[in-house]
């Protein structure tokens, strides 16, 4: 029998990239449970060791159940938000979203780390990412509780971490083929899950 592994649940905002995330985790020997957003019931606690909030279409205001989830979860459970999930985490902690003047879909760009974090273990200071988004975090709205971790070539905020809780978000898509360091990033996230 395989060793027991942490239970990681990905909540899927009906996106078409979640199986790419699943494939990256499988390469690391971890299964992801994919829970469609529509099936998530905020009245039933999630029994998870870590959570991933998926990319997806639209605006964070269209996903009220995710805000309920973030209010309810045990604070020590690691959470990784990707794209829409990143925006959701940031707005949950008080940041504001702005529509972008030039939306960015399917673009490979350089990303530069702004401060050290375990998420960047074995990832170069400047690395290649894939971007898909039409909203961005207003950098002036970032609350004191959140640390900016990386920015893109156009200075758009690309990653954040909560200063005291294991809550992280990336605006780019680590699962994209345009992000060769994506598997390492997921590995670094796995290392944050308290597990014996």
């Amino acid at each position: 029998m395989a060793e027991s592994l942490p239970r990681i649940i990905l909540i899927d905002a009906n996106d078409s990239f979640v199986h790419n995330i699943k494939d990256r985790f499988l390469r690391l020997g971890h299964q992801l449970e994919i829970l469609p957003y529509a099936d998530y019931d905020p009245n039933r606690p999630l029994d998870a060791d870590a959570l991933i909030l998926s990319p997806g279409p639209g605006h964070t205001s269209e996903y009220p159940k995710w805000f309920q989830l973030l209010q309810q979860i045990e604070p020590h459970i690691p959470v990784l938000g990707i794209c829409l999930g990143f925006q959701l985490l940031a707005t949950h902690y008080g940041a504001k979203l702005n529509p972008m003047e030039q939306v960015v879909h399917g673009q490979q760009q350089k990303c530069t780390q702004l401060s050290w974090h375990p998420l960047w273990e074995n990832i170069p200071q400047t690395f290649t990412i894939g971007r898909y988004h039409s909203w961005e975090i207003d950098p002036n709205s970032l609350p004191e509780t959140l640390l900016p971790l990386a920015q893109a070539e156009d200075a758009c905020l690309m990653a954040i971490a909560h200063k005291t809780l294991p809550h992280l978000g990336v605006q780019f898509h680590p699962e994209s083929f345009m992000c060769p360091n994506g598997t390492q990033l997921f590995k670094n996230f796995l290392a944050l899950i308290p597990w014996e």
Binding site: N14, S16, G58, L84, Q102, G106, E175, M178
Partner: protein
């Protein structure tokens, strides 16, 4: 054929290695499948790579399209602007927008079928003919491969190959499609790899040569994939290259902007030969309604798209390939 009956039938035929033909419409409402040896008797003619179920005939003259009555630009622009609204709002990252154009043809659909030069083509019961340059999936020896095609250019313009490969709008659109198709293969397969990224094919038409840009993505299936071939195909659809990403929301926007069901156009068709699967995306498609012929075409719209260029691409894709 109902959806469940279709999926169950394919699972069963896959399990007992019975060769069959399948055809699935874009809306996934009227899938059909037949044993491969019964296709010709049902007025279905097919070429799929090396497989043919008909005797080639040389028509007196290659079929030509003599007149095109394309959707008016203002009408197209209305739909294009609707799509742009959703791109800016983040509801979609890429959307394939298509419309039918009424055409005049020399000959009938069967003449077009015989004269079209394409490694994949299908004539279906006097309803439509399709000569697709785009392979959908291929399964050989537990490896699944897909070949999304995104990007078309007139090969006769100066430095056409270099221009299309260096065009960033084309690159971004293609990259989105590659991530989408990686995702779709990952539903069933492991070890997904992008083996070839943006390679070029040349297509000959009576009037011009076209360049098409494609990629090859592969993955490994469990060895019992034939037992669930119906489920496997069903979950891959609609084909990512002809809808966009993310699929569910993008298909809702397509339905509203096109306001007309696509039917078998942009669906998929293919064969299971008892061991392997070969299939194509049903594009480059002429349908007959009463005495009138319609050619359906379109292209991928992104936030960087220019309306008049996309309209030109819709027109440029109206051709019958021939040497």
């Amino acid at each position: 054929m109902g959806v469940k009956a279709f999926v169950d039938q394919l699972n069963q035929w896959g399990n007992c290695q019975k060769p069959f033909f399948f055809l699935i419409d874009f809306e996934k409402e009227k899938p059909m499948a037949l044993p491969l040896d019964q296709t010709a008797a049902h007025d279905i003619y097919l070429q799929m790579g090396d497989f043919q179920n008909y005797s080639p005939k040389s028509p007196a003259a290659p079929s030509r399209i003599t007149q095109k009555k394309v959707i008016p630009y203002e009408h197209y622009k209305g739909a294009f602007n609707q799509v742009q609204f959703h791109l800016k709002k983040g509801d979609t990252y890429l959307l394939n927008l298509t419309f039918p154009s009424q055409i005049d043809l020399e000959g009938n659909l069967l003449d077009v079928f015989h004269s079209a030069q394409s490694s994949h083509k299908l004539y279906f019961k006097g309803e439509f003919v399709c000569f697709s340059p785009e392979r959908f999936i291929q399964i050989e020896n537990n490896q699944i491969a897909t070949f999304p095609m995104k990007g078309t250019a007139d090969a006769d313009t100066p430095a056409a190959a270099q221009k299309i490969l260096e065009n960033t709008k084309e690159l971004w659109e293609h990259s989105t499609t590659v991530d989408l198709l990686r995702n779709d293969l990952s539903i069933h397969a492991n070890h997904i790899e992008v083996e070839q990224f943006r390679y070029l094919d040349t297509i000959h038409t009576p009037d011009k040569k076209l360049l098409q840009v494609s990629s090859k993505i592969t993955g490994q299936l469990d060895s019992d994939w034939q037992n669930r071939l119906g489920d496997l195909l069903w979950k891959l659809l609609p084909a990512g290259s002809i809808c966009g990403a993310p699929k569910t929301k993008t298909c809702e926007i397509i339905a509203a902007a096109e306001n007309n069901k696509r039917g078998y156009y942009t669906g998929v068709y293919g064969i299971f030969d008892g061991k392997h699967v070969y299939s194509a995306v049903a594009i480059r498609y002429i349908e007959q309604q009463n005495d009138l012929f319609y050619y359906r075409s379109g292209g991928g719209i992104t936030a960087q798209s220019n309306c008049s260029e996309e309209y030109e691409e819709l027109i440029q894709k109206i051709y019958v390939p021939a040497i």
